[in-house]
Each structure stands twice: as C-alpha cells, then as structure tokens.
Symmetry: C2
Subunit: 337 residues, 2 copies
DNA sequence: ACTTGGCACTCGGGCTAATCGAGTGCCAGG
DNA sequence: CCTGGCACTCGATTAGCCCGAGTGCCAAGT
C-alpha cells in the first residue's frame, strides 16, 4: 500500500509538525531530513498520503499536518518508545523514593509525569478491586456511630461513618472487630461480597443488627461507590498547546472522575503502553486530545493505571517512554510496601 | 474626599464592568442607572476618580475600568454581601448532606462552591493543628514495618509507614497501641509534642527503640510535614475570564499547595469573609486575581478555610455570599460528626 | 460652585485593497 | 519513476481609511 519512502515521509511530517507546530511543506521536508529525492517527488508522495487520509492541508496552499489516522500509523509502525537514559532513570527513582505513604507516592508520581512529558498527568490510585484487606478498624464516634476504617495491602485507607440501628458497648465492638479481621484479612476485595454474606452467623445474635449495618456499609463502600480515585496534575501544560476554543471543554472533562476512568480504563491491556488518539477517545470534549496510558504494578499483581493527556500533536515516543518508565518505578515502590 | 455621587458612580462602574466586561463610558452610565445628571457631569466625576486612582482608561479614548483600589473601595464601602435565598440555602444543604465521609464532604464543598460562583474554588481540609486525636492504630506490614494510622476528631485519617530499628511481635504492638491511645486520645495535636516526650517512660525498656521510632514519626507527620491539605476545583471557569497571557501562571500557582496555603492563610480573621484584590496577593502570578476567603467551623472551634479565586473583575457580593453560605453549612456538617 | 450642552479631538476596531510568499498540482523531459 | 519548471492558490501581513464611542474642555446657565 505505502512504500518505504512514503512511510518515511509520514514519519518526517509527524516529527516536524510535532516539534514546530506548523504545517510542513515539501521543501522543508527534504531539507531537514536526508531524503535523497526532490521536493516534487515528496509532493507526489504527499498527495497519495493525503488521498489515503493520513495527512491534510489546513488551507489549500499550506503544508500538511497529520490526521488522527496519520498519528495512529506513526505510533503503530513508525516510532519506537524512547528509552530513558540511565541518568534519567536514576532521577526518577530518587524523586519517587522519598515518599512516605501512598498519598505521597501518588502525588509525586503525578508531578513527575507532568514534568517529564510537559503534559497533563493522570494517575489512578491502586484499584480497590485488585487489593486485599489488610486491616479493619472500628472507632466509636458517638452513641450510635462508628467510623469504619479499612486498610488495604496497597496502602489505601478508606473511611466511612456507619450509623448503627442500636447503641453498642466497647465489648461488642471489640468482638465485631475481631471477627471482621479474622475473616477479611488477606481476602481480595472482589471476594468480600461472598465472605460477608456468611459473617452474620459468627456474631452473637443480639449484635446482629449492628453488625449487619457495618457489613452493608463495607459492601456499599467497596463495591458500589467511588471505588476508583484518580488525581490529575500539570493542567497548566494545556495552555501551551492551543486548543482552538476547547480548552474549557478539556479542563471540564479532566475534572470528571468518571471521564478519567473511562479514559484510563478503555484499554484493558495491562502491561503495554496504549495510545488513544483524538476521536478514538469517545469522550466528548477530548476529541482533540490523545491519551497515553499504561498499567502499573508487577505483572502478577496489576494495581491500576496512569498516563498523560495532551494534544494529538504530542511527542509520542517521549511520552510513551516517560509513562512506561514512571509506571515501572511507581509499581516497584508500591510493591515494596 | 469623595461625595455621595462620586461613590455612586464608582459603584455603577464596577457593577457595569463586572457584568459586561467592557470599559464603561459616561453615557452608558447615566442610561443604565438612574443618576439624575448629565453625562458631562459624570465625566467630571470620573476625571476625579481617575486622578485618585480608583479607575483608569485602558485606551486614551474608551470607557473606564476599575483599578484594584477601586474594587477595594467597592468591597469595603459600596457593596453588601449578597444573602442567599431560602431556596438556595436549602439546595446547598441537601447537596452537602448526602456526603458520607470527610473526603466526600470536602469534594462536594469544592464542587458546590465552584458551581455557585463560577470561579475556582479552594477548600482546605480541617487543619490538623486544630484537631484532636481520636484514635491511633498500628498495623503490621512486614518484619520491621508498621503502618501508623491516625484518626482525628475532624475525620481526617493520616497514614504513614514506620521503619522500625528492631523486629517486633504482636504483643508489643498491642501494648504500644494501648499506650498511644490512652495517652493521646482526645489530646489536641498541638499539645502532642509535649505529651509524646513523656511517653517513653510508659513503655517497657526493651521496646523503647521501636517505640521511639513510632513517636518520632508521629511528630514528624503531624508537626513538620504537609499538615495542610487543600483541594481545588472548577479550574475550567478560568477560561471564561481572559487572563491576557497569565492563564498559565494562574494554573501553575493553583497547583502549588504552598501558594494556596498563603492565599487562604494570609488573613487570620477567622469568622468574617475577607477579600484580597489583585496585587494585594503578593503571590507572583496571581497579581491579577482576587481571593474571597473565610474560615469555617463553629465559632468556638474553627477548622480551616475555604474560598474562591477569580479575576479581579469578579462579582464580589455574590461570591462573598456564596463563600459565607457554603462555609456555614460545611462547618455545620462537619460539626455533626 | 456646580451642572450642562456643545464641540473638537483621540484612537482603537473593523473594513478593504494590495502585496507577498510558501506551497501546491501538473506536465514534459530525463 | 524521478525531476525541474511553471502557473496558480490562498492565507497572512501590511497599509490606508473611516467610523464612532468616548473624552476633555469651555462657556453659558442655574
């Protein structure tokens, strides 16, 4: 379909356009890359590329810019993920290493990613559904209220107030806590629904009402609600790339947790870097952005995803390299705890 | 200095400019407000106002726009905080009432505030220094690592990994936990430093090394580190007001926790709404924005602050009303737990 | 002393015309 | 299939122009 040189031309167009942000013409192309042909030849190639939908000219007589389809081909066939130098890796490692707790790790990750790519970074907390319970704690608040604190093996701490149907005493709480920890400890959160179903039997009859309230809150919190938590950073990088008038839309989209989830979640391939370009994101308002995402965590223990969002005119090789490198180290650090 | 009519003129200029975003001239002024004088008279007044620095003309021959000093006078003398209607209050209340835990309350607050004011909302978590300990929990992670979880009476849950100098057994942890809870429960976090100093005596000698590690982490976490946590929402509202080229700067500033702290913290008057206009914010990059902030929490128990950030060209009465109303209800809800 | 109508003046925004040049498509020849 | 040549297109830039909103000032009126 497309011979080698046409591919090379497309690659050159993408690279030039990404770095200059201006439509690239045939002359500039032969100058800046060592294609040993004349501009006229390039023009013929470009005509073909345009006909096939890989590039377009914004105005009748200006250079060409890549289409989504063009970027897609570039990412799939024409570029390699840019590896990071040893020095860069060390920098990443030390930057992340200073973090104390999960919040800190996630915050640093997002900052780092935004800085490395000069794009908007998006990092998802370790997914609850992929975590296991490490500890459950019940703290009395008032007569009929408990604070339920649930700690996962990925370091997430979820809290929730429980309203009890009846008042309680210290002993019954101790007992309930013991039962909960005994039964839930180490269980995957996905399995918890079934485990909880059997729990009432293990509680003294007169405490069952209160226990049931606690159980239902556990289920509700972990299964139904905001189980995913995502943070965003580096929004100021969006001002560099000029979204005609869509900046507002993009910012709005990035404030919606649900949208972010879809953005990261759409690709279910865990281990390799995935790229969604322009209209491939069926999120309204992000039609003119690309998403580079990857799962993090060890191979046998995927935790969640992270990535960057930026204009389709993005340095994909570098972004992919950064995302992959950061994911690796973040996963590593979280695996240690 | 300025007679009544000049004041009225300034008020009219501010109001018109805020609503139209265009320099306002003498004719428009007499038309839209019932000033019973001619445009020429207004022009004389405007000349005086300009001489005194309350207004300027962006171009030699265009209408006037208020200066920071003009807005300041407007806020101090010429406007009243806009009260919210009963219906609006009810809406706020029900919107906030559905929240389960602290995170949820804060998130909803920030969303609500952004929506009501159409500005960027900034909400600080209940300040640790004003909280008391409700519960301390130690969760074993590995041989020599503990997860320290600290729950405050304001609902904040802080976590931190502790590296121990020696290995430990279940019993010693139980004991340590008991000591910690016995001694710290109910104590203000500001007092904790002194309390912790006396703790080692109450631990068995052979456990002192580990205990000391835990204590130092407690101090470090609560006193030294990121004790303040602030979240931001509604950044997309910034695109409406056109910051000539400072949008980037503004976004950057809003991503810096430290900057946000200074923004909210600068005014130490807890109970009343404070407004900082333009250059009054000595934060670089926010010289062209205004901050409307107020403390929340009950009078005898201030918790933290919240507010909005927007262009100096802002509807101050409404913003102040919204900030005050939201602070009231958020404080109320947090007081209940 | 303040207000008012009149009037000349300023200057930014918007419109049109003209020019420039990057870049194209196509063709004929190698 | 590549190449140099050439006519053509059209966006961007510049210059010139006009219009009108808005001003400052002044002289006259209350």
């Amino acid at each position: 379909m497309l011979d080698d040189r046409k591919m090379a031309v497309l690659r050159a167009i993408v690279e030039d356009y990404v770095s200059t942000n201006e439509p690239v013409g045939s002359r500039a192309l032969v100058d800046r890359h060592n294609l040993d042909v004349s501009p006229a030849t390039i023009r013929n190639d470009m005509a073909v590329l345009e006909e096939q939908g890989y590039i377009v000219q914004p105005h009748t007589s200006a250079g060409r810019i890549p289409t989504d389809k063009g970027y897609r081909l570039f990412v799939d066939k024409l570029s390699a993920i840019k590896p990071f130098s040893a020095a860069e890796r060390r920098a990443i490692e030390t930057f992340l290493a200073g973090a104390y707790d999960l919040d800190e790790v996630v915050m640093r990750t997002v900052r780092l990613l935004a800085q490395l790519t000069r794009q908007v970074a998006v990092v998802q907390y370790p997914s609850l559904s992929k975590s296991a319970v490490r500890h459950v704690e019940l703290v009395p608040l008032t007569e009929r209220r408990l604070l339920l604190v649930l700690i996962t093996d990925t370091g997430r701490v979820e809290q929730r107030v429980v309203e009890l149907p009846a008042s309680f005493d210290e002993d019954s709480i101790m007992q309930l806590r013991a039962v909960l920890n005994a039964c839930l400890d180490g269980r995957k959160l996905t399995d918890i629904a079934t485990v909880v179903a059997d729990l009432p039997e293990r509680v003294e009859p007169r405490e069952r009402a209160n226990a049931a309230a606690v159980f239902s809150v556990i289920l509700e919190t972990l299964v139904a609600r905001h189980e995913e938590k995502i943070i965003v950073g580096g929004a100021s990088n969006l001002t560099a790339a000029d979204f005609s008038q869509g900046l507002r839309q993009v910012l709005e989209a990035l404030e919606e947790q649900v949208v972010l989830m879809r953005l990261l979640g759409e690709s279910d391939d865990q281990s390799s870097v995935t790229v969604r370009i322009g209209a491939e994101n069926d999120v309204l308002g992000l039609r003119s952005t690309s998403v580079v995402a990857v799962g993090y965590g060890s191979a046998d223990r995927p935790l969640a995803k992270l990535g960057v969002v930026g204009p389709t005119r993005m340095d994909y090789p570098t972004a992919m390299g950064a995302v992959r490198a950061v994911a690796r180290y973040t996963g590593q650090i979280l695996a240690e705890s």
